[in-house]
Every structure is written in structure tokens, then in C-alpha cells.
Amino acid sequence: MQKNRLSWMIGGPQGSGINASAEVFAKACSRAGLRVYANIEYHSNIMGKHSFYRVRVSDEDLRSYQEKIDILVALDLETLVGDADHRRWPTHYGHLHEIDRGGGVIYDSEIGFEPPADRSDIRFFPVPFIEVIRTALEEVGKGDQARRYEILKNTVALGATLALCEYPFDIVADVILSQFKGKRSEIGQLNVRAAKLAFDYVRDHFDCAAFPYRLQPNPERKPRILAKGYEIIALAKLRAGCAFQTYYPISPATDESVFLERHQREQSLLVVQCEDEISSINMAVGAAHMGVRSATATSGPGFALMVEGIGFAAMTEAPGPVITMYQRGGPSTGLPTRQEQGDLRFVLHPAQGDFPHVVIAPGDLRECYQDVFSAFNWAEQFQLPVIVLPDKKLAAIYTTIDRLELTYDKVERGKIFTGSEWTPYAAKGNDLVEQDGHLPGGKKPGEGVNEYLRYALSDDGVSPRSRPGTPGGRFWSTTDEHDPDGHITEGVEMRTAMMRKRMGKLDLISRTVPKDQQYELHGPADADLTVVAWGSTKGTILDAMLALAEDGKKVSFLQCRLMRPFPAEDVERILRSAKRLVLVEENYSGQLGAVIAEETGVRIEDRVLKYDGRPFSEDEIVAALRERFAGRPEPHTEAVMTHVR
């Protein structure tokens, strides 16, 4: 009997409501003190293509998904057997083979599925979905409309599941009702009834007690929330005082902006849907220059249109914007709704010439919050664009986290010219001239002290910024190379000084960002093997490490987070003292590996790479690491892993 450890999956055509089903289930578990990790896979399609949602539940913290399913709910046949029968080249082979022995499959008895002989190790629970819906509708006098209410199938699926695990029905009922408020409450009631009828049907028709999985509320309850990554990022933007967000719809970034849009009224946040991403980035740059905290969100194809604007922001030392750049499967349009860590190299050198910017890649939801919040501080402290680099997986996973410590919330706005004081002389720009005693145009040192210079050559590269409209704070600004007063120059001395001013900020950033936000070495100091990775694989690797620890294997994990400026020295030290290195990335070329080689000279030859558009499962990482301990493959040979059978 497996208690409070369940790997559940619902599959069906895109648009059939599996999301609702899975998310209500997740919420019902989370509210009852269980930990949840849920993730969805779907096509870039509105209706009809196969999609599925996994919900993993446990008493313990969960940070990844497992391949084996305990309960599969199938709304259609394809979910079970795949599409090899109707696609020239099959897309998948269904999930039947993924069900763990002892597990079960709940399916719509209408779909024409015959349990195969070779899976006698699992149980089959056919449920007459439409009959259940019809019964629920009959109660409200709509018994003849069952086909119009097919969407209720997902509620039926949910009810059936709960019966099988003997989970208290009331919790779910509450969650459902809380989602249908006001004039929609009638529909809520209908959903609850359908779920309950399914619940009863399964309880009455099958021997649930004999089914080996059991879920029940966890009495020890902490203040937790159940959230998706994009929601956490949106929260961070709200808390950090972002006043201006632009966007152009694109998977998987849109959700963040739509979330903010929904709350713009009460949160006084301006969200502008632009005509494209070029407009998005430039509007955000314009707004940043005016002194508001501004942001935009996009993914690869949109970012490809923003690169010009990144250079613009960096060159004019705009205090922002913050760009949340959600990676998805590439290249080009690629796999719009799938996972990849494929844009690191692109965002590190996103435009012509050398200029400073910050790139940080959070590894989990908590880091998403922290990094996005920090990003607004850095944008203003260092006056440059900041890119936060989540991915489809982080955006879409739906997981319990401890309630955010909203105390981690220090706002830093950097140097600001207020009009009451003048720019300190040392930051005036004349220092360039004083250094070698050369006084052009017969000017005396100190001349023009009482004058504000937006691009004064300060020691640390950051000059006080002025908010347009401020008396005496007038300035010019140009994307051409410029003087301290922001006028175009092509002079050799000024050019050199300005390049140093701008690029010098990278050192300042390295010194300012807390080390533990730059990278983190997880696990034992005397590990026999060190995994090197970044971003959303963090949770999966941590989970895998637990499994390896149970094997008695010592594994550590170097998580790289601040990608620009890169903490090269520290990372090199850690790498050089590691016994054995394995690079884990969700892309073809090992992009972090390349960055590490460039920054530290250390080349990690042993690589576990995946680029099929799906995140690693815990099992895949565990298997890959076990292989290493078993001496396969030889150290320093490349092992590319994928889902391919």
C-alpha cells in the first residue's frame, strides 16, 4: 500500500479540459497539506492534439516528475496507444506502457479500448463518462444535452480518481465551487455533481480498497501556496514596483502578461499589448528612461526582435527594462509549447558590439521570485537591461512552495539626480581631461561644476540618472557614441573612456550581487561526482541526488545562476577541485558547458543532454548518474540522452 505518494496523469485532446481536472486535483491535494508537482505537455494547437498533465503528490517536497505513472486517466484512445495508427511518422506511443505495475487506468468506456493481454499487471477501470454526465444533467433537467457538456468529462475523471484513492470528496468539492463564483455558481454545482456521480460509480463498481494507492490529508500543515512559475514572476514584478509592462503574445510568456493585465486595475500597473516585440522592447526602454520600473516578457522568437532594443538600452544606460525571457523549443518557431534550455548563448551576446547587461537563470520558483525582484534593483543600480531566463517548464509547472517571504524585498534605486544637489565634480567628465593635465578649449578644471551631466565619467561606471521633467536635470541621450552630456562624439579618447565606463559596470555587478545568488554548490563537499547544470533542471537533479544518496553515492551539484557577469573564478575553483564532472542540460550543444569552457578553460566532456522538447524526468537523471557510477560510459565520453526508444 502506497500512501500519499502518487503519480497521476490525465491525457486527452487539447481543449478537452484536462488542465481544469489536473489543477483542481492538485489544489485539492495542496490545500490538504500535501506537496504537489504538476506539469503539462501540449501541442502548439488549440483543439484536438494530444496533451497530458501529470500530477505528482507526496508528503515530502517534490521538485520533479517521474516517468512511471500510478494512475492514468484517458479521455481518448490516443492517450493509451499513441498515434502510430494515423500519423505517417508517429508522434508518440501512448502512455499505457508508462503505467507502473500495480497501477491502474481509468478510461472512458466509449473510446473503444480493449485492455491488452500483456498488461495484466495493471488494473483497468472503464467508466461510462457520458452516462455519468447525462445523469448529472438529468438532475437539472438537461438530460438531453450530454454531448454539449462533454467538457464535464474532466470532472468525471477527477471524481473517478478520488474514489480510487479514497480521498475525501469534500475538499475537491470546495475547490471546484471556489472556482465558479457569482452567476457561474450553477455550473460549479453541476461540476460537483458530475464528479460525485463518478466518485460513486467507481466506488460502487470497483474494488477500490484493493487498489494499492491511497491519498489522505496531511495534518501537519505549513502556510504554502500552489503556484505556477509565471505567477510567481508576476508577483515579483508587482512587489518590486514594476509600473509598466509591455508584451506581444507568445508561448510560453503570454501567461505572465495576461496575469498582470488581469490585475492592472487594482495594482495600478500599466500593461500594454504591443504590435510586436520591437515595439514592446522600445516602449519599455522609453518608459525606463522616464524613471518607472519597466519590463517585458517574451520567448525566443520574440527576443529575436528585441536584440536591437537591448543594445539601445545598454548604450543609453537606461535603467532597465527587465526582460523575462522564457525559453522554449527552438530553433526558429521550433516547438512553441515545449521545453528547452536553448537560448543561453543567444541572450549572452544578443546584439552588435560589446556592452554590459545582466543575465540570470533562476532554478526554481523561489529563485524566480528573488531574481526577478533583484533584476529591477540591478536595472536601476547599474543602468542597464537585465534578462531573467526561465523556461517553459518553470513557467508552467504547478507546484507547492512555502509561502513567499515577502520580507525579501529591499528596493534599491541606484544613484538619482534629484535637482537639490549637483553631480559631484569627480563624476563630471572633465576628469578625463584632468588626468593628463590637458585642458582643451582653454577650460579650467572645475568649470561647469554646477551642471548636471547624465553620462558623467564616474569611478564605478554609474552616473546619477535624472528623471525627465526634473528641473535642472535636462540631458541628451543617443545610441551613437557620446560625450558626458549625451551628445554624439567620435573622438578616440571619449570613446575609449565611455567603453570603459560602460563595461566597467560588469565588475561592479560581480562585486554587488550576493555570491549565493550567483551560483550554489549543493550536496556533500567530498562528492565523488559533481553535476553541473543550470535553470529548471535544478529540482530534478536535487531529487535524483536523494535517490543516489540512498544508493550510498556521494553526488554534488554546482548550479550556475548568474550567467553575466559570470562568476568565473569561483566556478573554476569548484570545477578544478571536483573529482568527476557531468554536465546536464536540456539542449543539443551543451550551452552552459561552452560558457564554462570560455570563462574558466574547463571543458566538461561527460555530458547528459536532452533536446526533444521535454524536461528530464527524475528517472532519467538517476539512470544517467547510476551509469556513471557503474563505470558506463567511460569518463569523458559524450552521452546524449533522449526519450528516443
Binding site: 486595475r265 500599466l270 518607472v292
Partner: protein
């Protein structure tokens, strides 16, 4: 009893930066610069409350010569940038400007979409029918079959009709000025700034260096038998481009059609206001959506450490 003109706080000099100007001698841009400065002075706007945005091109250098907040942005991106700025701080008068290549070529997408957005700001296009700063290629306003001296062949694309485009795009103020009549131009610019909404001023500009077709002499009609100017003022003809009842869709359509027809008049070319309708601006709509924006620029609203407890509660 005579009405005294109110005393102005600022003189023309207050709008002039002391930077050396590097346009070619005789460039029409000088006239546009003067037009802007005259307009600011006529409106007595505080230079600290004005921000001038430009694209890239000869025209793009204009902000450097105006004493006001000045932003010399990217080629073709001046409208989104200025829009972002304006939305962030409605306390500042925003003027956007750029070349005809900048605005109608590479920036055409923003030109169109800014019309339908109707943000309250003035946009001036230095229309010289060439790409000045890149040495005289045809710009989008050069008509099919025309060839300036720096072009190896005649233009084979048709020229754009900026006025008709602006009408279709939804600009609520549409005018045309002439660079070498800075005073008349200043009058138009004042109206454009005062207009609540997206205001386009297409400014016919001479480029003595590359455009040997549309020279001062050409505009003056020096080559015509009667030496009559190739320009005339709409104001002088009783033309009325203003929509008087903006709730009357019919009047709007009629005035739009009138402007479109006018815009195809080629010689002489009408200058002045082609079309104007004071419709709700983007900001008007925003204020309905975001109550805090009423009476306050976005930049002045305190949004730090927002209360997100209700959101967190919903995530339980």
C-alpha cells in the same frame, strides 16, 4: 481696452542648445528645428518639461539642437520609444520626430499602429524623399519613376501617401508643413501639440545635397511659367478638416474621405491641417482602466511593495 499678451517665461534662446550643428548648409532641417523652437516658445513650455525623441538619420540629430530632454533613439523605433515615455510620464510634453525613411519605411509598422493607439503626442516627419544620412537612396515617399542625383536607377516602387496612410491608421490630427516656412510650420506644430491624441505632421523638407528634384526652387515654382509656388495653404481656401461632432460617425468618415482626396492633390500641394478629430485618447481609456492614473502620471504613483495578499490567498 486692449488685451495684453501674457508675459512669456522663456525666450527662443532657451530652446537652443549650444552644440555645433553639422547639417549641410541650406538643409531644410534647419527650418524644422526653428519651427519646433518657435512652437515651444509660443506655447511657453518649460524646457525641463519637454522631451524630444528622434530616430536615426540626418533628421535624427534634431533633439541634440533643442534645449529640452533629448532622446536620439534607433532607426525606425522613435514612436514606440516615445510612446513608452509618454505613457510613463504624462507630465512631460512628448514630441517624436524622424526621417521619412525612418517613419514610413523601416518604421511603417509603428507608424500604422501608433495611429490606432492614439497616444497624446506629436510626431513630425522630415519628408525629404531621400535617405539623407546614408547618402541619398530613395526614401518611401519618392514616387515611381523618379530619380534623384545619387540614385543609379529610377525608383521602381510607388511612393507612399503619408496623409492617406495616417487617415487609415487612425491618427486624429493630420497636417502637412513645409520646412522653409518655419513660422507657418510652428503654427501647425503648436496645434499638433495642443491636440489631444496622436498628431502627425508631415513636413516637406528640402535636402540640397541629395534631392535635386524637390528643391527650394521647385517648391517656389521657379521653373513654372507663372513662377507660382507649388504649395498653397489649406487655410487660405476655406478647407475645414476638423470634425465638429465627434459622435457623428458620418461626419468622421466624410472628413476622412475629404482628407484622402486632398492628399492626392499633387501640384500645387496643400499644406496645413488635413484632418482633426478629438476622440478619446489611449490615456483617456487607460484612466478608465487604472483609476490611480487619474490626475497623476504613472511615474508618480507609489507602486513599491504592493499588497499582493489577496493574490497569494487565491493561490492557496
Amino acid at each position: 481696452m486692449s488685451v495684453e499678451a501674457p508675459v512669456k517665461r522663456f525666450t527662443l534662446k532657451d530652446y537652443k542648445s549650444d552644440l555645433h550643428n553639422d547639417w549641410c548648409p541650406g538643409c531644410g532641417d534647419f527650418g524644422i528645428l526653428t519651427g519646433i523652437q518657435l512652437a515651444l516658445q509660443q506655447m511657453d513650455l518649460d524646457p525641463d518639461k519637454v522631451a524630444v525623441f528622434s530616430g536615426i538619420g540626418c533628421s535624427g540629430k534634431t533633439p541634440h539642437y533643442v534645449k529640452a530632454y533629448g532622446f536620439h533613439t534607433l532607426h525606425g523605433r522613435v514612436l514606440p520609444t516615445a510612446t513608452g515615455a509618454r505613457l510613463a510620464n504624462s507630465g512631460v510634453t512628448v514630441i517624436a520626430l524622424g526621417g521619412d525613411g525612418d517613419g514610413y519605411g523601416i518604421g511603417a509598422g509603428y507608424f500604422v499602429n501608433s495611429g490606432r493607439r492614439n497616444v497624446d503626442m506629436a510626431y513630425l516627419v522630415h519628408n525629404n524623399s531621400v535617405y539623407g544620412l546614408t547618402k541619398g537612396q530613395a526614401s518611401p515617399t519618392l514616387r515611381k519613376g523618379k530619380r534623384t542625383k545619387s540614385m543609379p536607377e529610377e525608383a521602381i516602387q510607388d511612393g507612399i501617401n503619408p496623409i492617406a496612410m495616417a487617415v487609415a491608421a487612425g491618427y486624429t490630427f493630420i497636417a502637412r508643413g513645409y520646412a522653409l516656412e518655419p513660422k507657418h510650420l510652428a503654427g501647425i506644430i503648436v496645434k499638433a501639440i495642443e491636440h489631444k491624441g496622436a498628431a502627425l505632421v508631415d513636413v516637406l523638407q528640402t535636402c540640397p545635397t541629395y534631392n535635386d528634384l524637390y528643391t527650394k526652387e521647385w517648391y517656389d515654382g521657379a521653373d513654372l511659367p507663372d513662377k507660382r509656388s507649388r504649395l498653397y495653404k489649406l487655410d487660405d481656401t476655406g478647407y475645414d478638416g476638423v470634425v465638429h461632432d465627434v459622435t457623428d460617425e458620418k461626419e468622421i468618415v466624410a472628413k476622412k474621405a475629404q482628407a484622402v482626396v486632398k492628399s492626392y492633390e499633387r501640384e500645387p500641394i496643400p499644406i496645413g491641417v488635413y484632418y482633426q478629430a478629438e476622440l478619446p485618447t489611449y490615456e483617456d481609456m487607460l484612466r478608465q482602466r487604472i483609476p490611480a492614473l487619474d490626475g497623476k502620471p504613472l511615474v508618480d504613483i507609489d507602486v513599491f511593495h504592493r499588497d499582493v495578499n489577496a493574490l497569494l490567498e487565491a493561490m492557496r
